[in-house]
């Protein structure tokens, strides 16, 4: 990163800066003319100087070029002008004034836009450069770099820098020109008044920056404090579990409170200082008019200065303070952003960064990574200086299955990391075939090497997105985009040093995994997931997932078919009472009242849960159906029961969460509503009714058994469905209605298959229904489609929506799907118990036939299937080749192994 901000700006934007500066220069004569016109209007037209000698007309718009006195004072008349009368001159000059106002405005508009665009481009470049540096942080630097601080630097701290970049060169030029023009104009009018103004300006320019030095120091402190504040919030959030476990709320709150106080205190000091400076600045600006009025007025009275001149000087001076003030502000901003830039540059200092990343455009080696893996004299020290590896050497012919038996020492894991190129700072040499492993191009390593560490790193997105993360090295196919838009995008990217790749392009390299298309790839992914024991989970995720019938009409149709088949099966096998189907003409005892009324699934929050009770369209519909009073009455009964039976349970008790319609904190409010109502129903306020209405919406007769629903109400509810539908068809679409012949895209696949609710009344109904669904799914061949839906399951931030085992499985499959030549497993099986881990190991060996597998194992118990055992002790490595499974990539053996692998993929 450039040390100086100005150099950075100049290197990357000099063309634009010069262009804008040029326009600023061109605009100046117009600006000058607009300053001169008021004087002409007053003197020539109003006071009639142009008609002094009894002339009836005067020239308008004469154009004369004259040399100053010291150059001979000769002049050429280029255009004599129009001869006009006094009123004509006045109007002519006034219109001219208006014209210049507009021209000046237009110039200003263009310059402002150009500056804004320039600043934004530079900000984009700066942010992208910083992000590129984020990718280059060395593993060592990453121990001290906080992610939240880095994020706040790239997002917030450079923002003012970007805003300043547009102004960096242009503002001083533009404002300086303006100020100089005004000053020059005053000078021309009256040299002494001009010198006076100049003197005050000089004072302003010496005192104010001095006073602002302290402000800069405070600003720097504030920047660091804010950054640490952001970092601290990130830390607390990341470690929230520890905060909960150790009840550290008090401490953390006090800590954050203290930081906020510091920030406040700094801001306060900044304010004090800033407004003092402002005060002095304003005072100095007003000092000049004081001189003008007093001295200029005196001179005018004495007759040495004409009034038109004085008015013009004062008018010109009105133009002087704003550019001056802005110029001083600019200077302040300059120092400010320089400080910020320095702080940012420090965060991304060279010693924290690895060498520049290349590898995007490199070709991947066609040859698999192979040849003997030879390590010589490996030396690695732990953070305390002890030697973990001390002159260790080994030689392994690849491909081979190697178990690194850690025996509790860190050496095995470190060796694994060295082989996987995860660790760069070690002594000695590691060669793979002819090459040093550090020399393997990045593109080749990314394609042919895989490493699964103890922490599975997942990105937010679907399981599929995570599984194919390793297949997106560079775009392999073009997405059809609008040509003009594409041209614009690429041009902007080139101007700002950004990549020109489009993320909508086809990035997934299907060939890499031997897949033909998206569907084929999904096959492979699902197959691998099943192999690592995630088959059931993927199926269940699929059942809980949603589909878009428009994108996949065929699957939707088969789901509807499955729905009918399921119904038939239930009827045929006497399981009819297990599921109560959705029937447009029947009340469903197993559904909530809300679902019964809507007969559909809400797609927006305004229709979900309690919000429904406040929804005007919904209210209108149930009012029309005559349900409102009945439902409020039900609400009263529910509230009475809840307040009775949950009384005495402490707030926050898990039974509240699980069973009550009313949260513990709402209990007193509902008690108050019930007390109010004791007089009569009329004493309930509108808000009370809304709250009461929200209770029965979640009520399910079969489950809650309060006996609140009679046949009359059921009929009313069914009638209300039609009203709701007409009401919501006009309102914003927030509900997707059930249709027996269609898939409801807002409901999960499982609900779409069932198209009904499992009975609460029948023992063990859930499990029996699940079995029946599984049977139908298999019979109709829906399994695979459902599993594909399962791949859409969101993993959440850092994969937190998945269990540890699921995360580890996704991590493993992500490595396996690449079919790497060398797979390094370093603790990735930790979440699995020993039996499952043993199965996984056998599977990995099986899948990796013909390729190499390095696996860190805690002990020799699980190492039976490996060719070579590596043991670690006293910083040395000893290898033992199993006699029975002789190594050596003999030709037929390798070919056979390829075949097996091909089947797997």
């Amino acid at each position: 990163m450039e040390k100086s901000l100005f150099r950075y700006i100049w290197t990357h934007s000099k063309r634009d800066q010069i262009l804008v500066c040029g326009v600023v220069l061109v605009s100046q004569p117009f600006y000058f003319a607009s300053l001169d016109l008021p004087r002409q209007i007053v003197n020539q037209a109003i006071q009639g100087e142009a008609f002094r000698d009894g002339q009836a007309t005067a020239p308008f718009l004469p154009f004369t070029l004259s040399l100053p006195g010291w150059l001979g004072g000769s002049s050429w008349h280029i255009f004599e002008g129009f001869q006009v009368g006094r009123i004509g001159l006045l109007l002519g000059l006034s219109c001219l004034f208006l014209f210049f106002v507009i021209v000046n405005g237009a110039f200003k508009y263009w310059i402002n836009v150009a500056k804004g665009v320039l600043g934004e481009r530079m900000l984009r470049r700066l942010r992208f450069d910083l992000f590129t540096m984020v990718l280059r942080f060395t593993p060592e630097a990453l121990r001290t770099v906080k992610s939240s601080e880095t994020a706040t630097i790239i997002k917030d701290e450079v923002e003012p820098v970007g805003g300043f970049i547009g102004d960096a060169f242009i503002t001083p030029v533009f404002l300086g020109m303006q100020a100089l023009t005004a000053l020059f104009f005053i000078m021309v009018q009256h040299i002494w008044l001009g010198l006076m103004a100049l003197a005050v300006v000089a004072i302003q320019f010496t005192i104010i920056p001095r006073m602002r030095r302290e402000l800069l120091r405070l600003g720097r402190l504030r920047q660091i404090s804010s950054r640490e504040f952001a970092g601290r919030i990130g830390e607390v959030l990341d470690g929230i579990e520890a905060v909960h476990v150790h009840n550290a709320y008090g401490w953390e709150r006090a800590e954050i409170g203290h930081r906020l106080y510091q920030l406040f205190d700094l801001r306060l000091q900044i304010y004090n200082r800033k407004f003092i400076v402002k005060f002095v600045n304003n005072f100095l600006s007003q000092l000049t008019p004081f001189f003008f009025y007093s001295i200029g007025g005196y001179l005018a009275i004495r007759g040495t200065l004409d009034i038109g001149q004085l008015v013009a000087v004062i008018a010109a001076y009105r133009e002087l303070p704003p550019p001056l003030k802005e110029l001083i502000d600019w200077d302040q901003q300059r120092l400010d952003v320089q400080v910020k830039y320095d702080q940012v540059a420090q965060h991304f200092s060279e010693e924290r960064l690895a060498p520049i990343l290349l590898g995007k455009d490199e070709a991947v080696d066609e040859e698999p990574l192979g040849g003997p893996l030879v390590a010589e004299d490996l030396r690695v020290a732990d953070p305390h200086g002890g030697m973990v590896l001390d002159g260790a050497s080994f030689e392994i012919p690849l491909p081979a299955e190697v178990a690194l038996i850690s025996g509790g020492s860190a050496a095995a894991s470190i060796t694994a990391q060295i082989i996987a190129r995860r660790m760069l700072s070690f002594g000695g040499r590691v060669r793979l075939g002819e090459r040093d492993i550090a020399q393997i191009p990045l593109a080749t390593a990314g394609r042919r090497l895989a490493y699964a560490g103890i922490d599975p790193i997942l990105f937010p997105g679907s399981i599929r997105d995570n599984l194919i993360y390793g297949l997106r090295h560079s775009p392999v196919g073009k997405f059809k985009e609008d040509e003009r838009e594409a041209l614009r995008r690429i041009k902007e990217a080139q101007r700002t040093g950004n990549p020109i790749d489009n993320i909508s392009d086809q990035w997934i390299d299907y060939e890499l995994v031997g897949a033909k298309d998206e569907e084929d790839l999904d096959h492979i992914l699902i197959d691998l997931m099943k192999k690592v024991g995630m088959g059931t989970e993927i199926y269940l995720f699929g059942l809980a997932g949603r589909i878009d019938p428009e994108r996949d009409p065929d699957f939707a149709a088969r789901l509807v078919e499955g729905r009918q088949r399921l119904r038939e099966t239930f009827q045929a096998e006497g399981m009819g009472d297990l599921v109560e189907p959705f029937d447009p003409r029947q009340f469903n005892d197993q559904s909530t009242i809300a679902e019964n009324i809507l007969f559909g699934v809400p797609t927006s929050d305004a229709f979900r849960g309690r919000n429904l009770a406040e929804n005007p369209s919904f209210r209108k519909a149930i009012d029309e159906a005559g349900l409102f009073d009945d439902l409020v009455h039900m609400g009263i009964q529910i509230a009475e029961t809840m307040t009775e039976i949950f009384e005495g349970l402490p707030p926050g008790h898990s039974l509240f969460e699980q069973f009550s319609f009313i949260g513990a904190e709402e209990l007193p409010e509902f008690e108050a509503i019930l007390r109010r109502r004791r007089g009569s129903d009329d004493s309930l306020t509108g808000e009370d009714r809304t709250r009461l209405l929200s209770l029965p919406l979640a009520y399910i007769e079969a489950r809650h058994r309060l006996g609140l629903i009679d046949s009359h109400l059921k009929v009313q509810v069914v009638q209300a469905r039609g009203l709701v539908r007409t009401e919501f068809e006009t309102a914003e679409a927030g509900v997707e209605f059930y249709d027996p012949a269609k898939v409801c895209s807002a409901a999960p696949v499982r609900d779409n298959l069932l198209f009904g609710r499992v009975s609460y009344r029948v023992a063990n109904a859930q499990a029996r229904v699940a079995e029946a669904i599984a049977a139908i799914v298999k019979e109709l061949g829906l399994l695979e489609e459902i599993e594909r839906v399962g791949l859409d399951r969101q993993v959440g931030t850092a994969g937190r929506l998945l269990t540890a085992q699921e995360r580890a499985s996704v991590n493993l499959v992500r490595c396996l799907v690449k079919r790497p030549d060398i797979l390094v497993i370093d603790g990735a099986l930790a979440p699995f118990d020993e039996t499952r881990a043993q199965q996984m190991i056998s599977l990995l060996i099986e899948l990796g036939r013909g390729r190499s597998l390095f696996m860190v194992l805690p002990n020799e118990r699980q190492a039976s299937g490996f060719d070579i055992l590596m043991r670690f002790g006293d910083g040395k490595i000893t290898t033992e080749t199993k006699a029975l499974q002789a190594p050596g990539p003999s030709e037929p053996n390798a070919a056979q192994a390829e075949e097996i692998a091909g089947e797997v993929a």
Binding site: G648, L655, R761, A763
Partner: protein, 148 residues
């Protein structure tokens, strides 16, 4: 049949007869009412004890698995409580329960039941009293047996 009716049934169970009506209502509300078809199993011997049942309507057989097959050792009728020992002592089911006709029962979840006991000492005392009574009866039977 509503919650009120279930509370009436619970009151017939000796272990619950002294408990406050509001608490019984809570117990009923937090339980599930389920129907078993004829010959459907409540649970099998050796299963984990995850719930207790109160039979609201119908009958069930208690079966013991022996080397020669399952033998019926007792019959349960309305208002009988079954499976409560397992959830209190956290041991696997000691017998199999099978509905001998279409039966409705109230399924009390183990976790919820223990939480209620932890929350309301009066309930815990009622349970202890019942257990003590059973122990006393067992002792009396033992004395009678050794005396004979």
């Amino acid at each position: 049949m509503t919650l009120e009716a279930e509370v009436q049934s619970l009151r017939q169970v000796p272990m619950f007869k002294d408990i406050d009506p509001a608490r019984l209502k809570l117990l009923a509300f937090t339980s599930e009412r389920v129907q078993f078809a004829d010959r459907q199993r409540f649970f099998s011997q050796g299963d984990t004890s995850d719930s207790a049942y109160v039979i609201l309507d119908g009958r069930a057989d208690v079966l013991l698995t022996t080397p020669t097959g399952e033998i019926k050792v007792a019959e349960l009728e309305s208002n009988a409580l079954v499976g409560e020992m397992g959830i209190l002592s956290d041991t696997p089911r000691s017998a199999t329960i099978v509905a001998s006709e279409p039966t409705t029962a109230l399924r009390i979840d183990r976790r919820v039941f223990l939480e209620l006991l932890a929350q309301f000492p009066q309930m815990a005392l009622a349970v202890m009293r019942e257990l003590a009574k059973r122990l006393e009866q067992t002792n009396a039977k033992l004395v009678a047996k050794s005396g004979s």
